[in-house]
């Protein structure tokens, strides 16, 4: 079974695996410069113009695997030489235009940007075109295409532009580190920084969990990942890597849902605070609404705080689908609780760097959270959990009207409506990724079955209510 959606992910994984393999053996610094040649041996290029360019780009990927540019505060970085400088002319008429009579394109264009030459072939006047795309939709020959860079298309917060060398450039003041561009760039020219070396360092220094314990905190979307093995085998694999134990971040989600439902009833209106990219988006674009963001820490930080309180010397490594979580742990109020954030991609690289074949391992157990904590991983789950929280608190005089926003564009619409006072709802569930966390950039696979996998995993929870899941934490 395929482990990754794309070959770009696979390439990134090979670099991470190689860097990790050397790091476990303490030979990284000796062999650093040889890694590109290990991955691209021989003289026949398979990806770029020549093997030398391939290796030059791989060297950049090695740097990112080792934490990237320390001068750049953003956890998402462009590898300039890997950027293919895709055309970005916007809507263009291709030679599929047959010069028809109907001229639907002309009729639908509100800006009068379409003209015709002597052969009746359509042309777009770029000084008038606003890239609405209406002409492309109506052309019966699909002769009009959108030449927009995949990265710019992916970036719904418009943080990507072109620098003087025509390479992609990220505006850190706009970027919310959601990682959409990382997943969408077909050349793998944008990557999230990896802290895989920090994780290895912690595991090694723990001296087999004798000096301190290393906890793996896994996001509930893990249920839609590693589909080539059983979830219980993934848990065994984590322990094989050297983690002391594995805890569900979903238990933190239960704690959040329980607290957030009372906060909501008290304040009357709230947005969620679970998705760090959404929270960042509110702060960067809707500062006037920032006071409405729930004051609860994210599920990751909430449960990590609890663990650190019970075991103060512990180290906590969060493993999830999210690149924005890497930015979240740099925040003052989260930094004390979570030591490292890894993605599922990076976990796969860690397994293979130690030749841990999880399919051969026995199944361990993972069961801390309730159904409701677990379904946080998909769009709509958080709203369901808050509704359940209100019910379990016995709050009956508050009627929840949740607005689950699937992806940052829907978040933007809901926030704009709230600003104008026309939002039909009192709770915005903000998820930056389409589908929720299961659509995260750090996922190995983004399949249609992901949502049903999460729901199934939710149903399998030993605890059926939020109160039962968190009763022992008090």
């Amino acid at each position: 079974m395929r482990k990754f959606d794309t070959k770009v992910q696979h390439l990134k994984y090979k670099v991470l695996r190689e860097v990790a393999r050397q790091a476990w053996k303490d030979t990284l610094l000796d062999n650093l410069l040889d890694i590109p040649k290990t991955i691209v041996p021989g003289n026949t290029p398979t990806m770029r113009c020549c093997v030398y360019k391939e290796r030059a780009i791989l060297s950049e990927r090695v740097k990112l695997a080792m934490g990237g540019d320390p001068e750049n505060p953003n956890v998402i970085e462009v590898i300039e030489i890997a950027c293919d400088e895709c055309p970005m002319g916007g809507y263009e008429v291709t030679n599929s235009c047959r010069g028809c009579l109907a001229h639907r394109c002309e009729d639908v264009c509100k800006r009068d940007a379409i003209t015709f030459d002597n052969n009746h072939v359509a042309h777009i006047d770029k000084s008038k075109c606003v890239d609405c795309g209406a002409c492309a939709k109506v052309c019966p020959f699909t002769a009009i295409i959108n030449r927009k860079r995949p990265c710019q298309n992916a970036c719904k917060v418009k943080a990507i532009s072109m620098n003087e060398n025509k390479a992609a450039k990220i505006d850190n003041d706009k970027c919310i580190a959601c990682g959409a561009c990382v997943y969408q760039c077909p050349f793998g020219a944008i990557m999230d920084k990896s802290y895989i070396l920090d994780a290895i360092d912690i595991i090694k220094k723990s001296n087999k969990n004798e000096k301190f314990k290393v906890y793996a905190l896994v996001a509930p979307s893990i249920s839609s990942q590693f589909t080539y093995a059983k979830l219980g085998q993934v848990i065994s694999g984590l322990k094989e890597l050297g983690f002391y134990t594995v805890i569900e971040a979903a238990l933190g989600a239960d704690m959040v849902a329980y607290a957030e439902s009372t906060e909501l009833a008290e304040k009357g209106f709230l947005t969620s605070s679970c998705c760090p990219a959404f929270v960042d988006y509110v702060h960067k674009n809707f500062l006037d609404l920032a006071e409405h963001v729930s004051h609860n820490l994210s599920p990751m930080a909430t449960i990590a705080k609890y663990i650190k309180e019970t075991d103060k010397d512990s180290k906590i490594i969060f493993i999830g689908p999210c690149t924005a979580k890497k930015a979240e742990i740099q925040k003052e109020n989260v930094r004390p609780y979570v030591d490292v954030v890894l993605t599922f991609e990076e976990l796969q690289a860690l397994f293979d760097s130690k030749d841990v074949d999880i399919t051969t391992l026995p199944e361990d157990v993972l069961d801390n959270a309730s159904y409701f904590g677990r379904i946080f991983a998909r769009s709509g789950g958080l709203s369901d959990a808050v509704a359940q929280g209100l019910k379990e608190h016995g709050i009956e005089d508050f009627e929840l009207k949740a607005v689950p926003c699937d992806g940052i564009e829907e978040c933007k619409i809901a926030l704009l409506k709230k600003r104008k006072g026309v939002l039909d709802g009192n709770f915005i569930e903000g998820m930056a990724c389409i589908g929720g966390c299961i659509g995260g950039a750090g996922c190995l696979t983004h399949g249609e079955k992901s949502k049903s996998e999460v729901d199934k995993y939710g149903m399998e929870a030993y605890e059926k209510t939020i109160s039962n899941a968190i009763s022992m934490l008090k």
């Binding site: 594995v246 019970t310 801390n368 022992m472 934490l473």
Partner: protein, 79 residues
Amino acid sequence: MKITVCIGSSCHIKGSRQVVEQLQYLIRENGLNDKVELGGTFCMGKCQQGVCVTVDDKFFSVSPESVDEFFNVNVLEKA
């Protein structure tokens, strides 16, 4: 006196919630709230023997069925 109950996955499935809830009840019923501190922890490394419980660092294997007896012998008599 400090009682710590493991609330890790393995012990959870074996009924650590029931053990915690029963202990909370017994501590309250016997008026020991001032003397006994009840807390949780994730994994004591003895998953086979769960539900794992420690009383001032002394280890016990408890189940939802044996929690009353455990409480009487190891908590009530010594508190």
